[in-house]
Amino acid sequence: MSACHKPSSTKKDDKVSFVMALAGNANVGKSTLFNQLTGLHQHVGNWPGKTVERREGSLVVDGYAIDIIDLPGIYSLSTFSIEELISREYIVFDRPDVVINVVDASVLERNLYFTLQLLELQAPIVIALNMVDLAEDKGLSVDAKKLSELLGVPVVPTVASKGIGIYELIRQAINLAEHKIKLRPMNVTYSKDVEERIKKLMELLKDENIYYPIRFVAVKLLEGDEDIKRRVSKKVVETAEKLAKEIEEIRGIPAPIVIASERYAIIGKIIKEAQKVLAPYKIGLIEKIDQLLTHKILGYLIMVAVFFSSFYAIFTFGDYLSTILSEAFDTIKPSIISVTGEILWEGFFGGFIAGVTLLIPFVIPFYFLLSVLEDVGYLPRVAFLLDNVMHKVGLHGKAIIPLIMGYGCSVPACYACRIMETPRERLISAFAVTFIPCTARLVVIYGLVGTFVGIEWAYLLLLVNLVIVIGMAKLAFKVCPGESMGLIMEVPPLRLPALKTVLTQTWNNIKSIMYVVFPIYILGGGILAMLYSLNVLQPVEGLMAPLTVEWLGLPAYTGIPLLFGVVRKEMIIIMPAILFGTTNFELLFTPIQMITLAFVAMYYVPCVSTFMILKKEFGWKTACYIAISQLAFATFIGGLFYRALHALL
């Protein structure tokens, strides 16, 4: 069956080019390695037809042009998750010249489970034995040479975060791609009961037309792999199911678990020879801090303190920066004589200024802090602490990660919902995300309420929001059919944040927002100013008046900003600022109007980008349902809110 290697090394610009894929578990430093290899030559997209991020980059080394594909972090090559299927199909169908298997030397045993399956898949692999420094800290020493002998593939020790071993790794990969070294991959052999049945299946599979290695297919069939089952004839599937049953009868446990156990038994033997325990495991300072962060009482107090101080820092720092920037811009305003010039200046440049003074001070600090929390490894701890709370709304702890990201931008947060295992959980969490105020809405809350009514009112809105998010998630939980799975999550070790990683991460997050937002502000501001001077918007405001003026008690001129807010929520305050030439909103709204407007802005509809993501992930129907339910909720509750404020204040 040994499928012949396609002649993939092609000449381009006098350089030999190769394609290499990075594969491995989550949290093994794969992304760090990817960044080290490709630097800024990266392209982030999606796998065709899937909502899984596809990261691709390139590098030139020793005259070779190498394309690097960063496969998603996975623990197995079964097909329970889209990520696993994508990785498997990529390796088999696209045939990268080399698969660089990144393994965490400090959790070698668990990482080799994936490696074993790569060997079974007959992938051309080179192993990056990463985080050897961390392993040493844990008192573990891994003999790379021994490991290489046992597995029959090259093993290169690396510390990706420090750039150690990376050149050697890529050299080995090139050697393999050029067939200068030959792999002698170990045979993954199971016990007699299992092997007999694998052989039987392989015999049957001889006549099947299938692209995967036959032995891999036989093993996966015994493991009950749904995707592989679809690729073979019914007869084979039936035989496989019968054989799997026989294994279960003999062992008393189901065949997939027998196979997993035996893989771990094989790994156990490898570990015994290649890994030494130098020092007994002892609890260090970081471990002690970890215990505090996840303590059943203190952990929660710390969590509240962390989130509260983050918001406080963003608000105060944002305000400070925003004021400085506004003042700086005020001094450079030229004197303009013509009316057209005035419109252009106020519109286009006004949009630009609004973007700089409102967005940058809040968005950048948010993503910076989020990147720090991510890099430190704090988010999985929060998932641990909040698991039982999330269970009440049909989710589990991991869902807190997209929810926190929602405070930045709903778009990546909706993407992040794919870390949830089932479609139902993905939908509930994405629905909840759309109710979380993103930085655009935080700017509205802060710019209006925080600045002109009082910061305590801004916090109150955020607290009320928490209740609403929980209520809405609970509602979605009741309404959505489907299954929920519990929490199974690896907890990566806590570590000190690396400035470079944090900055790269921050930039990656804000980059797209900046590129999209500024043109919209500038164009939107200009168009709006022109339309106003032509008197075409006033009738629209008149049409919206029953809702905006009568029911919500807002000034008529909030109609158009609310319409534009569908594109970007900050437009809701940026537009009045442009139209009236002031960011002193006290002149434009009463305090109650400000609070009501901020409330409506928080919920009334997902912005266009979020809507498109929802459509992509869940289809038109669901996206429309979400938008309509939000509109109904915001207008109805907004009106009640306005009346309640009036009665109270």
Binding site: S78, F80, E109, R110, P254, A260, Y264, F384, L487, I488
Partner: protein, 103 residues
């Protein structure tokens, strides 16, 4: 292959056999922090069991509970050198024989 409703109880229809062989088993939820157990059997949804087994939670594996949240919260365990957090409903199905420290 959905012709047999009796299989609903999951792939493990042999719990009694294990009980006879090993005496009383406890779930991960019943272990105190710092206590170790040897996995004897996994109960629950097939997908969940397979995910657990891929992460190294298979029969004869030593697991140590290192942290837990009361009132239906998850447990954090140390298994094969990695730390995993497992929700209550799943942890309930991981049955272990309690390991005394002297062994």
């Amino acid at each position: 292959m959905k012709n047999n409703g009796a299989e609903h109880s999951g792939p493990y229809r042999h719990r009694h056999r294990y009980r006879q062989r090993f005496g009383d088993l406890v779930s991960l939820l019943e272990l105190k922090n710092g206590q170790k157990g040897v996995v004897v059997l996994l109960e629950g949804d097939e997908k969940v069991i397979r995910r657990l087994s891929e992460l190294g939670i298979v029969p004869d594996t030593v697991v140590e509970v290192i942290n837990s949240i009361p009132f239906g919260g998850p447990v954090e365990i140390l298994v094969r050198g990695s730390k995993l957090v497992i929700g209550k409903d799943i942890a309930k199905g991981v049955l272990v024989r309690v390991e005394s420290d002297e062994e």
